[in-house]
Symmetry: C2
Amino acid sequence: MPLQYSHQPINRERWLRELAELLAFPTISAQTQHRRDIEASALWLKEHLTRLGLRHAQILPGPNGGHPSVYADWLLAPGQPTLLFYGHYDVQPVDPLRDWRTPPFQATHVGQNLFARGASDDKGQFLIHLKAIESYLKTVGSLPINVKVWLEGEEEINSPNLPALLDREEARLRADAVLISDTEMLGQGRPSIIYGLRGNLNFELEVGGPRHDLHSGRYGGAVHNPLQALCEMIAGLHNHAGRVTIPGFYDRVREVAHALRQELRCAGPTDEDILTDLDLPQGWGEEGYSLFERMIIRPALTVNGIFGGYVGPGNKSVIPKKAVARLSMRLVPDQNPEEIAHLLRRHFTTVKPPAVTTRLKITGGSPPVIISRRHPALTAASRAIYHTWGVPPVFTRSGGSIPFVPYLQQYFGVPIILLGFGLPDDDIHAPNEKISLPNFFRGIETIIRFLQEYRL
Amino acid sequence: MPLQYSHQPINRERWLRELAELLAFPTISAQTQHRRDIEASALWLKEHLTRLGLRHAQILPGPNGGHPSVYADWLLAPGQPTLLFYGHYDVQPVDPLRDWRTPPFQATHVGQNLFARGASDDKGQFLIHLKAIESYLKTVGSLPINVKVWLEGEEEINSPNLPALLDREEARLRADAVLISDTEMLGQGRPSIIYGLRGNLNFELEVGGPRHDLHSGRYGGAVHNPLQALCEMIAGLHNHAGRVTIPGFYDRVREVAHALRQELRCAGPTDEDILTDLDLPQGWGEEGYSLFERMIIRPALTVNGIFGGYVGPGNKSVIPKKAVARLSMRLVPDQNPEEIAHLLRRHFTTVKPPAVTTRLKITGGSPPVIISRRHPALTAASRAIYHTWGVPPVFTRSGGSIPFVPYLQQYFGVPIILLGFGLPDDDIHAPNEKISLPNFFRGIETIIRFLQEYRL
């Protein structure tokens, strides 16, 4: 019955309209001017959860003035396990805007895809959960297990208020397992369950020079340039073998078993697949590892942005007074963000050119995580996938970070099921993000089936 | 009589009002949106030249759609030499705006200084010329020599249309010597004549990577980052001894005579003077040379601006699709901009990391220049300085470039007198540019005296 409901064209059309409504909120958590959009979106979600038939729908205020999250539950299946559905309704900034072929906050249907910021990361994916729940409640009138739904508003800024929120809401959020659809499959028709995530560490490096901008004709060659010093420090962060040069950086990186590397080689894309997908002639990075391994089992350090000097029209002959870089690291087991931050601080103190000043600001971080594959909830998820897709899921790891996951794992000690329906070409965090609509609908079927399979 | 006129408070007050009017035009030649301000300023200047009593005041259209220049003359001294007064009424961009303590286009009198963009570079300085001419014409009623005044509108963008303009206007502009006040004195009370200027070469380096921005969590460590590659290429442009690493870069750098270095050591500021002036703990640059030598007799390479990736509020986990740097070089005799551009192109082709693409764009350049100190016009200028300031001028060289100078020197083969009244702390090209008003008025006296001294 729920499956039948989820196949009715009239429901499917309405679901796409609802998804478009949700995608229209520019819920960019990194940009304070979108605070009201975030609040409006939270209200929309609260009302939507109520309409589905869930109970106790409410907006949970963000601790420390952070963005709110939205909660609802259905706990009328005594003796059955409780599953926490997690999603995040905040999105990444849309820059560079001019690279978007369609307006980022106006869902646009092209072929088999729906384009908008947040379509895959994560509004489209958590709506899959809600529509599976709806399918049950509107047909059977009840759910086979107990569920809690929690939609966060700060994932894209590294969930800074999560520890405080978990302290306050532990009882409300506690469950036997957590389901998250915020990852992707290995490819079309290759459903995957992620059992490992890289951690991260975000930081900003500011290099200061003269008190004010100087004329580079006059002082060029005699005064060190903050932009050049910044380039030197960034260039020095990798050696010729593509390894990060920060002393101690690799000390805790766990040796990966040969069997696992073998498994990744079979399951994952080849270097050629990745390069073809990205339309790149060549990869880059740490010698001795495949591109896929570099993406998921090896740590990485990336410059996300640099800003300094004059970049307006024409030329300006200037030695700028300061230059700033935004960087981020991806960490693997058992690297620890605090420890790495300490190594980083020490490293920059050592390599700082003497003629400039530097300021290092840590702006966020979360530890890497590995989830045990041997739990009834994961077995149930596997079965649901097999029944819906006709193939068993590939158990694999992801290069991205979901700060929520390690926190929650540490807090509740329950398994986190990372069962995502995104595709590698969804362009999350980039212009022209999209979701595959066949995946959206088949995702709903998968979750309906999972609710059945997880019943004791 | 002219000197007396130039001392009358009523004239001095009016001159400052006129300077303020001229400084109010935001004549930023690098920014196309200021085209009308430039045209309005040219009109103001044409009318001002007429009011002074000069003849043939007119706006000369810029060739190839470039900014106009303003011309006037007074040629009624038969048998006497003809002096061309050169100035430029365009100014540098004002960024960063928030570092200005007063509005950049509203002249503000603080203590002995007048603050505004262009106060020293070059509106305030060429107004010195005009007020010396005015002092003669309003008292004696004539000038001791023939003069031509030419005010350019594209100096700050490297005078791109100067060759075409000289081709068209050669007859009109031809003179026996050229006077330019667009440089600075060595310090308060230390008038200087510049007899050498560094050349320059401006370029933009763009590094391209993936077709669109990628999620750095996902691809970090496996895809080369245009920002990082850019940093590597920039960091590689200098070695540990502060020397530019481009092969062949120093091949034509003229060996400087021991006597000249001795002279610079006596005339110029010490390292300590320069660092105190800039409030910097330490200099930077090519080993084996003093800071002053690095600023004027050694070539230099500077990053003027970098942009790429996400630099808005919060974090964005991105590998950007491209990164751009603006750079400029200062060249010394006998380096040639075209040849250096060729070496640069070859160098970047060699060092380009294989996983990215690069595009080098040359955006301007001018050769270095040396002016003979033995010409009657320079002798006359020396005498005028000695009489007005009580000390002989220091003959020195400057680190900056005035593209007009080498072009004009090459074209007319006449001496260029670089007699400036700026001070080292005028902050030209930076926020809070100013001119010293005592220098402004004493500059007028100096030019009045020079007009007498240059008479045969």
